[in-house]
């Protein structure tokens, strides 16, 4: 009877040792996850703000063919003039909202030391979806920005960055921040997949 009781106690000890061993390494994954999601929130917020404040009004000298002297035209460049930029703002706002929700979710899971597998799986799949959305936004705004920078001689599309330099700088900064956000999303998916494969769910 005493031997059976001793065996039960040693079994219980053996059971309690592994979770403590994985706690420190599992909390590293949770902390890294929360930190990366916070960076995602910051970068998507900065990208949206920088693009919204990119309005610029300048006077451009326009030469209309019948007349020889160029006359000044006051023109404005706003982000609202191109549907690609409108999509960019929408996509990054969605990413910002998503990152707020998931940061708080992961932070609560970190405090409670409990993270169900289905929730982690859902987070990974949603991360991949949001990665698709953000990369599409990066590509679209980057393409329009590149067209504005270099113009296109074949289709007779004038480059606009010569006159609107502040506008183009804002667009460039915004696109690079959204590129950074998509890299963070890739790292997040990798981190969560690695944690899932190692059966670390906390």
């Amino acid at each position: 009877m005493a031997e059976v009781e001793k065996k039960g106690v040693s079994d219980q000890e053996a059971k309690t040792v592994p979770p403590e061993h994985t706690k420190s390494s599992s909390s590293f994954f949770s902390v890294a996850d929360v930190v990366l999601r916070f960076f995602l929130f910051v970068s998507s917020l900065v990208a949206v703000l920088v693009m919204i404040t990119s309005k610029q009004t300048t006077t451009i000298l326009v030469t209309v063919p019948p007349f020889t002297t160029p006359f000044p035209v006051v023109s404005t460049a706003k982000y609202r003039y191109s549907p690609a930029f409108i999509y960019f703002i929408t996509a990054l706002s969605v990413t910002g909202l998503y990152s707020i929700i998931t940061t708080t979710m992961r932070f609560l899971a970190l405090l409670k030391h409990k993270m169900p597998t289905t929730l982690l799986l859902l987070l990974i799949i949603m991360d991949v979806l949001v990665l698709g959305i953000v990369s599409a936004a990066t590509g679209a705004a980057g393409a329009i920005g590149y067209l504005g920078l270099k113009g296109n001689s074949h289709t007779n599309w004038m480059k606009i960055c010569y006159g609107f330099d502040k506008f183009c700088k804002h667009i460039g900064t915004s696109v690079s921040f959204s590129l950074f956000a998509s890299v963070i999303l890739v790292l997040l998916v990798l981190l969560n997949t690695y944690a899932l494969s190692k059966k670390i769910l906390k």
């Binding site: 991949v128 393409a143 074949h154 007779n156």
Partner: protein
């Protein structure tokens, strides 16, 4: 415990087999779609005769204008990304057939590359959509005229290639989700 282990092993092997079938089919489909998208955009060329009036008294002059796919950098980017995705789908198809779920590191590497392909394909699709939209509608604020009223077959081919490429991107996304689900099912 041994019986449970045996039962677990059978479940794992059955999962591996079904994972392989759907994964192979999806990879082959992605290979076909990105290949067709790259080819359709890569041979895109149209020549049209446009009549221009230079002087009001003379009769209008017909000038042949050409639209090629490499005149726009966004389309070049889309063709490059499609060919990269196609080559990657072929290589990963061979690797998945040879691997059969033996080495875990290789499966993880393929998942990482799948993720990168999702990002690249979606960005290429987004860029070509934005540029195609300018060509279709024009942009009065930036004084960029629309091109698709002259070159309609060119624009239709671009739209078809874009649709196929975005479909390929979605298939890569589904593949990443499936491999994640399999990872969760194994444990």
């Amino acid at each position: 415990m041994e019986v449970e282990n045996g039962g677990n092993k059978e479940v794992v092997v059955a999962n591996k087999r079904s994972f392989r079938c759907s994964d192979l089919v999806l990879r082959f489909l992605a290979l076909a779609l990105t290949l067709v998208a790259a080819i359709v955009l890569g041979v895109n060329k149209e020549t049209k005769n446009v009549s221009m009036e230079i002087l009001p008294k003379l009769s209008p002059l017909t000038v042949p204008v050409t639209a090629k796919w490499h005149y726009l950098s966004a389309f070049v980017y889309l063709v490059v990304v499609d060919s990269i995705a196609c080559a990657y789908a072929a290589i990963s198809l061979v690797i998945t057939l040879a691997n059969r779920g033996n080495k875990k590191g290789l499966t993880l590497l393929i998942m990482i590359s799948d993720l990168i392909m999702v990002g690249l394909l979606f960005s290429g699709g987004g860029a070509a959509t934005a540029v195609g939209l300018i060509g279709y509608e024009g942009n009065t604020h930036l004084r960029w005229n629309k091109v698709c009223n002259i070159f309609d077959r060119y624009c239709h081919q671009v739209a078809a290639s874009l649709f196929l490429s975005l479909l390929g991107a979605t298939i890569f996304l589904v593949m990443v989700s499936l491999s994640t689900l399999n990872l969760a099912k194994k444990h």
